[in-house]
Assembly symmetry: C2
DNA sequence: TCGACTGTCGAACGTCGTTCGATAGAATAG
DNA sequence: CTATTCTATCGAACGACGTTCGACAGTCGA
């Protein structure tokens, strides 16, 4: 009953001697990530991936049971870089402020997601297949532990921080409506036109929208994220101080 | 240049006299939402929707230009209920604490998303097509405005709150791995098995995971959300007090 | 030499979003 | 009353996709 990982663990982790085409778990995931980076989530197709690997479609299914699993594993594969980049903030014996460490870690994770929007949808879906996601969870958790809260408070705080980062990043990094990608309309012009339409709403019905439309028109996604994160971390610090 | 809504505005909003099958924008969206509620996102198919409407596939395209637009409009259609439920907290002339109003509004929105996980992916993607999403944004914004912050701070706070609600809700409401849905394994057993595997990790490498595994095993999604939201709102209150 | 195992391969199946031309009914014009 | 135009419906067809399957190639141990 404890063994539920079974059906997904096919024991396919080794790199075998080459036969016809050069496959391996590493190659499959690397090329999948490359494909996602170059042309987005919709470009990752079994056929496209097979062509890139110089092999047939069917071969990929020897390494991966479904497209979901492929994306789960690709996501975890991409997390290695984030783990490496956040390692300096992970020493729990450091004298530094734990909240500063949390902030620094969250910044790196946020940047990684902005670069790879597809991460959000598959991050931490299956901790059996995604050991690096669990390590990311652990890494933030260890810093929060240093605040001396109860186990429950610690658990809630880590979930909130991780959820916030993922949530904001996925909101902000959703693809512009294809008009921008075509190059026919620049991102700035698109944003300006968007703000313009907000300005044309009824000021009586939408006072807030009119109040912040200038901020919206010139806003920077990263600033927006960091400001929100600071609010959350201020609340956390307050809780740690027994407020 | 200001008119970018053009291509999506087909002027298809009226309810015409019936011809062969009983279509209308209202019927299309209602049946789409019903389909999503009954069997999830993957069940919403043009063919399935057409059958439910008693018509052909092609007819739907007269009301909607693509599946994306269908989901955008269905999402906005579902937001009406949320707007109705949060109306009591929307009076800006009330003497009550604005943060309490924000919290109450966020709770309702969270509950709605837990009931309909598909909302997250399409919420506020296109404010032209989704006027109710803009109203939701406005509704929270008006409460935050009462805190007397700068326009920039207000803008950031609203984005943070909305992003947090969506982010946490989408994290928590992602479908269990099909084993639970089958009924072969109860949700509690699944959660227990999940926690058990966490317990079997190396305590040296995952001290935090071991520290909170009991909390995780018995946690309630709603409690988790509300605790995180309180952290965020505490930080916001601090900012409003000039801390 | 002989199975058994590890991988690879691509044709084939079913489903999906989407397109398109045909067409029926209502509204309008003459 | 008829002709024309507009609104709206319809389903066959297309191409792309995830996935399955049987065939088969190469390697290893007996």
């Amino acid at each position: 009953m404890a063994d539920m990982a079974g059906p997904k663990d096919h024991g396919r982790d080794r790199t075998p001697g080459r036969r016809r085409a050069s496959h391996s778990m590493e190659a499959v995931l690397s090329e999948a990530v490359a494909l996602l980076d170059e042309a987005g989530e919709q470009a990752l197709t079994f056929r496209a991936l097979a062509q890139r690997l110089g092999g047939g479609v069917g071969s990929i299914y020897w390494y991966v049971a479904s497209k979901d699993e492929l994306l789960d594993r690709a996501t975890d594969h991409a997390l290695v870089a984030v783990l490496d980049a956040t390692e300096p903030f992970a020493q729990d014996d450091a004298a530094g402020d734990p909240i500063d460490s949390i902030r620094a870690t969250a910044w790196v994770l946020f940047d990684a997601i902005v670069d790879r929007p597809w991460l959000t949808a598959y991050f931490m879906r299956d901790t059996d297949i995604q050991p690096n996601a669990l390590r990311m969870y652990e890494r933030i958790g260890e810093q929060v532990m240093r605040l001396g809260l109860t186990a429950r408070q610690t658990f809630h705080a880590v979930s909130a921080i991780l959820g916030f980062v993922i949530g904001i990043a996925s909101d902000l990094s959703q693809q512009p409506p294809a008009v921008v990608a075509d190059g026919t309309v620049g991102p700035d012009e698109y944003m300006a036109a968007f703000a313009e339409r907000w300005r044309q709403t009824d000021p009586q019905e939408f006072p807030f929208v009119h109040h912040i439309v200038d901020e919206f028109a010139h806003h920077d996604d990263t600033d927006q994220f960091r400001a929100g994160l600071d609010l959350l971390l201020d609340g956390l610090r307050l809780q740690a101080q027994g407020g």
